[in-house]
């Protein structure tokens, strides 16, 4: 009888540990999050987002302040990125957003450059100044074009 009680405790611990592992994998790693109105959503429109993906980080001065929530198209066929910014970040209305790459093979992310205005961006606001992702092939194409023009 005593042994059976110990067994039950061990089975209980096993189930708890297993469920904790499942929860860790789902919530922390999988990003299966429900945010109850904590962050604010801000949009930014780019000509080119490159290989930017949802859940990529949004940083200010290298500090992560949010993540990409969605990427879609506007009516005039430009790329609209929705940023989920942590609450408590007071972003000046004239801030700018650029798409950068971390390292050579790294993933792309959005870096925000705070502006100088007193007004701050509210939930649902839009960042006016954006700088698109740099596409290496286009840069190379331009260089080749310029070289061709010089030699003529």
């Amino acid at each position: 009888m005593k042994e059976s009680a110990l067994r039950d405790v061990l089975v209980g611990l096993f189930v708890l540990a297993g469920l904790a592992a499942v929860a860790y994998l789902s919530v922390t790693l999988g990003g299966f999050t429900y945010r109850g109105g904590g962050g604010m959503l801000i949009t930014a429109t780019f000509d080119e987002v490159g290989s930017l993906k949802p859940r990529a980080p949004v940083v200010i001065g290298g500090v992560k302040v949010g993540q990409i929530k969605a990427i879609g198209l506007t009516a005039d066929l430009r790329a609209r990125v929705t940023l989920d910014i942590d609450s408590g970040v007071a972003l000046p209305a004239d801030s700018s957003a650029s798409i950068l790459t971390s390292g050579v093979l790294g993933d792309q992310y959005i870096a925000l450059e705070p502006g100088a205005e007193q007004d701050t961006l509210k939930d649902g606001g839009e960042i006016q100044y954006t700088q698109s992702a740099v596409i290496l092939e286009r840069l190379i194409g331009k260089v080749v074009e310029n070289l061709g023009a010089d030699s003529e």
Binding site: L10, F14, A21, G30
Partner: protein, 259 residues
């Protein structure tokens, strides 16, 4: 007499199909038993101890070592491209998508599946199942169901433990041994892993493998020849058929889940 090899092939095929049909019937009977009361919670809890708790040491040790190896191999390869910051993604995706569920299922087949087949086989030999039938207790409900249910429940939990310990192993190599940054390891891990595609897919695999091992091990034990050689054959074939089935189904689940 030249037809003899062909006849042999024919017998083999017939036996295979017959076996498959019996396994399916057996599976539907066990599923039916699992859906009808009594629940037999006490028996399921005892089996959960045998299948789950007693498998934790081997699963934990294997997971940790697999994570250590993945960390080392991943680091060695990534460092050539100056991309060590992606180590978390490499270790995490490998473990969650493939190695976690598959290796856990193979280990559990060897440790617990074989034990289930041997135990039920020994009950066949000693006519315990017939004894239960005489008392009008359905052995499918009393013996097979708790073992099968415990196996199906334990497999995803064990796989999750395996994966988390593997991630810790990768962290140990990538951060403590070779001196990388812990935050970079974790953020690379977090940004690479998708909930539906990776995590849910991983648990679907573990559930499918748990069902396979539960069915095969109980079926082999239940249908073993009533002698010592029969029990040993049932145990062996549980491990062999179970392992092959896991690897084959792994392909199909992967293909279907990422169409």
């Amino acid at each position: 007499m030249t037809a003899e090899p062909i006849a042999q092939l024919g017998r083999l095929a017939t036996r295979f199909v017959l076996d498959l049909g019996r396994l399916t019937t057996f599976g539907s009977l066990v599923t039916g038993a699992a859906g009808t009361p009594p629940l037999r919670a006490r028996r399921i809890l005892d089996e959960l101890y045998a299948v789950g708790v007693l498998s934790v040491p081997i699963i934990g040790a294997s997971g940790l070592v697999v994570g250590l190896v993945l960390g080392l191999q991943g680091h060695n390869t990534l460092v050539r491209f100056g991309a060590e910051e992606n180590l978390g993604a490499v270790v995490g995706l490998t473990l969650i998508r493939e190695l976690g569920p598959v290796l856990t299922a193979l280990l559990v087949t060897g440790r617990a599946g074989s034990a289930i087949a041997a135990e039920i086989g020994a009950m066949v030999v000693t006519e315990q199942l017939d004894g239960l039938r005489m008392m009008s207790i359905d052995p499918l409900d009393f013996v097979v169901k708790p073992k099968a249910v415990a196996m199906v429940l334990a497999m995803p939990l064990l796989a999750a433990l395996f994966i988390v310990l593997g991630l810790a192993g990768g962290y140990l190599v990538g951060v403590v041994f070779v001196g990388g940054d812990g935050g970079i390891y974790l953020s690379s891990l977090e940004s690479a892993v998708e909930f539906r595609e990776d995590v849910v897919g991983s648990f679907i695999k573990a559930g499918v493998f748990g069902t396979l091992v539960a069915l095969i091990s109980t079926y082999r034990g239940f249908t073993s020849e009533p002698n010592a050689a029969g029990v040993s054959a049932a145990t062996t074939s549980t491990v062999v058929v179970g392992s092959v089935a896991i690897l084959v189904f792994n392909y199909f689940v992967t293909a279907l889940w990422r169409f």
